[in-house]
């Protein structure tokens, strides 16, 4: 496979772009402002049109300044409207988006009808983006600005962390919350303006939102989220551009976004702990643990009542499959011994069943005495209960149970 130098530059450019979008997106996700990116991206349109009408040229610098100004204006409106009126954040976002985008479309109409030259192609290109036709100088420009913005974010990591999670603390620690907030918004606006020519109005928002949302599955830590989100953004920029350079008929913007989406789906399914599969498995294993606990408890009960074991018949209220699995798992772990007719607990199994029963008793006691909590919470496993309650409290509760037993 040959990669021409031109492609290489574009590749580097989109990778840097993806990194930058991922970083900014992580900040926006934490501030619950993910859709602000969409609004800002749409509202660059009137700025671009006005810059075109005033500047009369299609040079990226002129259009970029226009886009940046109208992006900042709309970002300011979105954060200002909910503060001074009763309009909520989502409605402010949607309104600014709709109005600005509508204004942009109307301006495009005016430009097209006034016959100012080949504008239609250039401005329409901004709606959907055109990585394929990206010039080398443009790619270089985007790459460098994206890298610079990523560096700013990394340098101000601590301040941004505070402003995302605890702005009040930031105020007391003399971190200028307002300026940090404004800096974040400006970074978002600048990122979007840079990404705009490459991926277009709608998909820019995707590049900001998706990597961060995917990264959130993998971690609960701020630094890690920044890193993973940047990584996912970079990877999708890289892979997307590669794929689209191999298939000439595929536009790069959508391919980049779909690569990010693929990574999102992978994260959604496979991430440890927060991923769908692992959550599903956790739920299943909890359920199984509980069933086995009840199974052992049942045997313990009948042994305490004096019988030397339980007949090999199914316990009530359980399907045959679950019963079989209960017995299989228990005997594999050496908790029960099965002879021709009876199931008996081994030493080990007895210990386990008694421990579970005791923990449950303690939990119940704690709930009714110490915490006036709903009795529904009683249904926990012994490990959890022993983890939640401090040991000395367990002793006290045990004593109070014993005391009640004797009196």
């Amino acid at each position: 496979m040959m990669i021409s130098p031109n492609t290489l530059v574009i590749l580097l450019g989109t990778t840097a772009l993806g990194t930058c979008c991922g970083l900014v997106g992580a900040l926006m996700l934490l501030k619950r402002r993910a859709l602000l990116a969409d609004a800002i991206a749409h509202s660059t349109l009137p700025g671009i049109c006005i810059a075109f009408l005033l500047g009369g040229s299609r040079s990226l610098a002129v259009l970029g300044v226009g886009a940046l100004l109208s992006a900042l204006l709309s970002a300011t409106l979105v954060s200002w409207l909910p503060r001074v009126t009763r309009i909520r954040k989502d409605a402010a976002t949607a309104c600014v988006l709709g109005i600005m985008f509508g204004a942009g479309i109307a301006l495009i109409g005016i430009i097209q009808r006034s016959g100012l030259g080949g504008s239609a192609a250039g401005l329409d290109g901004l709606l959907l983006g055109r990585t394929a036709g990206m010039l080398r100088s443009e790619a270089l420009l985007f790459g460098i600005s994206a890298m610079m913005m990523s560096l700013i974010i990394l340098a101000l990591r601590k301040e941004l962390l505070v402003s995302c999670f605890d702005p009040r603390f930031g105020l007391s620690a003399k971190i200028p919350a307002r300026s940090i907030d404004f800096l974040q918004t400006s970074l978002l606006a600048a990122t979007i303006v840079i990404a705009l020519p490459a991926v277009g109005v709608v998909l820019t928002a995707a590049l900001v939102v998706i990597p961060a949302a995917a990264g959130r599955f993998w971690t609960d830590r701020f630094d890690m989220l920044l890193a993973i989100s940047a990584l996912i953004g970079a990877a999708s920029g890289l892979v997307g551009t590669l794929i689209s350079s191999l298939h000439a008929d595929l536009p790069a913007g959508p391919v980049i976004v779909l690569s990010a989406t693929t990574l999102f789906i992978i994260s959604l399914l496979l991430a440890p702990r927060r991923g769908w599969i692992s959550r599903h498995l956790q739920q299943r294993s909890r359920l199984q643990d509980r069933q086995i606990r009840q199974f052992l408890d049942g045997i313990l009960n009948s042994e305490l009542e004096g019988s030397s074991g339980v007949a090999r018949k199914r316990q009530p209220g359980i399907t045959a499959a679950i019963d079989r699995r209960n017995r299989l798992v228990s005997s594999r772990n050496g908790w029960i011994k099965t002879d021709s007719q009876q199931i008996r607990l081994t030493q080990e199994g007895r210990k386990r069943a008694v421990r579970a029963r005791k923990a449950l008793q303690i939990w119940r006691e704690w709930l009714t005495s110490e915490a006036s909590i709903d009795r529904d919470l009683i249904d926990l496993d012994e490990q959890d209960i022993e983890k939640i309650l401090p040991p000395d409290l367990i002793d006290t509760l045990q004593r109070s149970i014993d005391h009640r037993g004797t009196s």
């Binding site: 969409d38 989502d90 109307a106 005016i110 998909l203 939102v209 536009p251």
Partner: protein, 411 residues
């Protein structure tokens, strides 16, 4: 200027646009109340793959299969975003963002793959063709109306019926979802029904007026209603009206400026929103600022008059400037000028109405000081400052009651 308004073509465009924005505005109220105003935008973008698949499967440019595809995609967007939010723990906004942008990207790629030889222009469906509404006509009871009026009017009637029918239920779901869940309402079904209605309406309107309009018309008129009204009933009416008015303004504006109707409708709706935010009675920015200003001026003027009065009586001013509400130099100068212009003060002595105002204020001040000292047991050195604040807020009724309270005590 009136001329273009009167052409039947313009009337027909306006009619279609007005019905579409009324239909969107009705649902917009529900979405804005539920903090889901962005759903319109999401659906507008997310339907693209549905349109393309509908086109590819049917193999024709017939509208119906494309609309069915779009409808399925729209329902998919709303339900998938909801699922991600509830079952995968993704932030609501981000969930919506992930779903619709991904679908849009997929749609563009599908267009590139399937429709490049064939004449399918997604822009035609997405960016609005309301200007061509009058081209195709159908007969209704002997009248010739634009064909695209049918789906739009259908959506409007459907939404109207749903709003009236589920009035109480939707209201409860919007304002108190917990109670709605607890009171055995089919909460989930109602909310999903609303999402499906949004999908149907958006798709019906795309064909007629384009998605730009749907994005703006779901959010903006309802927000205007939200700014202006305190009740859901008035909010519904105001939102619908705002939608219709912006349709009229948008059509006229578009004809004047020779540009697209949907864009101009969004702009005029934006103008209405700005007007509402600035002028809303009671809580608009301008009424609020006026109220603040006139209050500040009153306080300043009363303070100046009272001080001047005390000085003219040769009694020492009983408070230094630091007491009382902190005031800026600007307002003080303005108040002094105003007093002089009104003739309330001459040569540093309050006269006429000014003197009456000064006396009233001083009376209130002494009444409050006495009240604070006798009834609230405040220490004597703590009397001045609160009295200087409260004196401006005592209305006639309260003054009378304070007086009569002291009088009855003396009896």
């Amino acid at each position: 200027m009136i001329d273009p308004l009167l052409t039947p073509v313009a009337w027909q465009i306006m009619m279609v646009a007005a019905c579409a924005s009324a239909a969107c505005g009705l649902l917009g109220v529900q979405l804005v109340l539920r903090r889901r105003a962005m759903l319109g935008d999401a659906i507008a973008h997310g339907v693209l793959p549905g349109l393309v698949i509908g086109f590819v499967v049917s193999g024709s440019r017939d509208l119906f299969p494309m609309l069915v595809g779009a409808l399925i995609a729209a329902i998919f967007v709303s339900i998938l975003a909801e699922w991600l939010r509830e079952h995968a723990g993704v932030d609501g906004g981000a969930a919506l963002g992930v779903v619709f942008t991904s679908l849009f990207a997929l749609g563009i790629i599908l267009v590139e793959i399937f429709a490049r030889d064939v004449d399918l222009d997604p822009g035609c469906v997405l960016y609005g063709m309301v200007e061509y509404a009058p081209v195709q006509q159908v007969e209704w009871f002997g009248y010739s109306v634009p064909r695209s009026l049918t789906p739009v009017l259908g959506a409007l009637l459907l939404n109207l019926a749903a709003t009236v029918l589920f009035w109480k239920e939707w209201k409860l779901c919007a304002f108190d979802p917990q109670l709605a869940r607890a009171s055995r309402l089919p909460f989930r079904t109602l909310e999903q029904g609303l999402l499906i209605l949004v999908a149907i309406t958006s798709v019906a309107c795309f064909e007629a007026v384009g998605s730009v309009l749907v994005i703006a018309m779901i959010a903006v008129p309802a927000t205007i209603g939200h700014v202006l009204c305190d009740r859901m009933s008035s909010m519904v009416i105001v939102s619908t009206l705002a939608g219709v008015v912006s349709a009229v303004l948008g059509t006229v504006g578009a004809i004047q400026l020779e540009t697209g109707v949907p864009g101009m409708m969004a702009v005029s709706a934006g103008g209405l929103l700005v007007g509402a935010v600035l002028l809303a009675p009671g809580r608009g920015l301008i009424p609020a600022a006026t109220r603040n200003f006139s209050w500040t001026m009153r306080v300043e003027m009363e303070d100046i008059l009272a001080e001047a009065h005390l000085q003219s009586m040769d009694s020492p001013p009983d408070h230094n400037d630091s007491a009382g509400a902190p005031s800026s130099r600007f307002f003080r100068i303005l108040a002094t000028w105003l007093l002089w212009t009104l003739g309330y003060i001459r040569n540093g002595i309050p006269v006429g109405r000014g003197e009456r105002m000064a006396r009233t204020l001083l009376k209130k001040r002494s009444l409050w000081k006495r009240f604070a000292a006798e009834r609230m047991g405040l220490a004597s050195d703590h009397l001045d400052e609160p009295a200087h604040r409260i004196e401006h807020h005592l209305d006639e009724d309260l003054t009378r009651r304070l007086e009569s309270g002291f009088d009855s005590e003396e009896d």
